[in-house]
């Protein structure tokens, strides 16, 4: 019995940590169902009123659409260019390789506030106004490091004799890439794209500097709204975003298996 005690205590501690992890998310989800005019937890009564009220706030829907477009654009472009760069970094020897690898990895070390400020100043100088493209370009910088880490990890240990065989059998380099290389490194590429999508979709810091009154991403919209309002609309928007992420995660789990995606991350 006394030997079991530490084990129970240990499991109890872990349980507390899991509760800590989920608490803020559960609170947001449940608060969105309250019948009161203000946010309260536990919710008083149950209603979907705050979800229908969203119809009267089309700006949230606009921001959601914009965020999706930006995240999608970012994911596609940064995965494409990141995969190409990873091929060069893993398979070719060239001068300045270390410097390039460090440059591409450095956005993870630079505080995104500083990058956001720098980008805003640069955009105003070259006359690039807030637009999906302006946001995508900024987000590419934030996401390429993730894409490259994941793709490089999947390229290491790649058996190149299959490619050689295809080349010898007369396949062109393009055909080899799309029919052999890409399918083999697929999981790394998809994981990179998903990371890029989520990072871009979630970004507040850089977007905060770039947005204008017409071009506002969802995180920025939520951030500015909650500075002035304390009504449950914000929790209903947030809940939709959470459900959206859960669906996305289920898809990832189905396609790749979560363990796989994250084990290559470290």
């Amino acid at each position: 019995m006394s030997r079991k005690l530490p084990k129970y205590f240990f499991n109890f501690v872990c349980l507390l940590v899991y509760i800590f992890l989920l608490a803020p998310i559960v609170v947001v989800l449940l608060s969105s169902l309250t019948t009161t005019e203000y946010i309260v937890f536990p919710p008083e009564g149950l209603t979907l009123r705050w979800y229908t009220e969203l119809i009267e706030h089309p700006e949230f829907m606009q921001s959601f659409t914009l965020s999706i477009i930006v995240a999608f654009g970012t994911a596609i472009i940064s995965t494409a260019i990141g995969t190409l760069a990873s091929l060069a970094v893993v398979r070719r020897q060239f001068k300045g390789k270390t410097a390039i690898v460090q440059l591409v990895g450095s956005p993870l070390l630079i505080p995104s506030v500083v990058f956001g400020v720098a980008l805003l100043q640069f955009y105003s100088w070259i006359g690039l106004a807030a637009s999906p493209l302006a946001l995508i370009l900024g987000h590419i910088i934030l996401t390429v490091p993730f894409v490259m880490r994941l793709v490089v990890a999947s390229l290491v240990g790649f058996d190149r004799s299959i490619e050689q065989a295809a080349l010898n059998l007369g396949a062109g380099p393009m055909k080899v890439f799309f029919q052999i290389t890409l399918p083999i490194i697929k999981s790394g590429v998809i994981a990179g794209a998903i990371f890029a999508f989520i990072t871009s979709f979630d970004d507040l810091t850089v977007a905060l500097f770039i947005v204008s009154t017409d071009v506002v991403t969802l995180p920025v919209r939520i951030y500015t709204y909650m500075q002035y309002q304390y009504d449950p609309i914000i929790t209903s928007v947030s809940s939709i975003m959470i459900l959206f992420t859960v669906v996305l995660m289920l898809v990832i789990e189905r396609v790749l298996g979560v363990g796989k995606v994250f084990s290559s991350k470290n």
Partner: protein, 305 residues
Amino acid sequence: MQAGIGTEHDLLLQQKKKNLTKKRLDTWLLLLPTLGIFIFFFLLPLFFLFITSFKNFDASTGVGNEWTLQNYIKFMSDPFYLGVVWRTVKIALLTTLITIIISYPVAFQISRSKGRARNYLTLLVLSPLLISMVIRCYGWVILLSNNGVVNNTLLKLGWIDQPLTLLYTELSVVIGMVHVLFPYMVLSIMGSLEKIDPSVIRASQNLGASSFRTFFSILLPLTLPGVFAGSVMVFSLSVSSFVTPAILGGPQVKVMSYLTYEQVAVMLNWPYGGAIGFLLILIATITIIVYSKILARSEKGVAIQ
């Protein structure tokens, strides 16, 4: 015959050279898109901001043309701003420490579990990572505000008579930060836990060591590199994070990233905001260097043991 072979040989050589130049060209073509975007939309903007941080500023005329060190001097000679630096570092240190303490048991539990349970636990730990930071912080606002869940519960239990001020304090920033950065630490510690041969632990237990003893003299030393690596990541991410301190601390708990934002977005003082930003980069870089020095030393220490 001889000549025939010679030309064939020459041809082969030429072909090889051609292939090599082609390959070199290919390499740069592969790199060009990424490199181009990084030079134009990362290096150049940061470089220009760096230059701006050495310019003078006037509230009525804006950014001036004179070169000056004033922005950096102003920051480093003012006790208020130095206090902000200290607060930033303090919050990051506290965050790192608490994250280590609460991540360790969870990492241990996951590394011990198998199959389904393991997948679900991993998913559970990593799920907050995928949910928007803004929303997670907002959840903490609901929990910690004056009439929030925590205060209401404590009032109902009769443990307090008046709501505690929890929100917009250093405490709330640390709580939010631990929540956001927790998965990074768990992943890092799990990485080094998995490298340990399970027979080592069994051996220790068979020899009669208590689980306490096994933990402190075997598990902990062997996983220190993972703990350190996780700490570097958590520390540098929390020193430079903006979202959490902005939502859970706001103007009441100013940290360096918030100061940078405020100077640029509210005061429009670009040079000063830029200077604070580069000092922030400097602090983050120094800690990473110091940490990795300690890390290198501790790894040697572990190897010797």
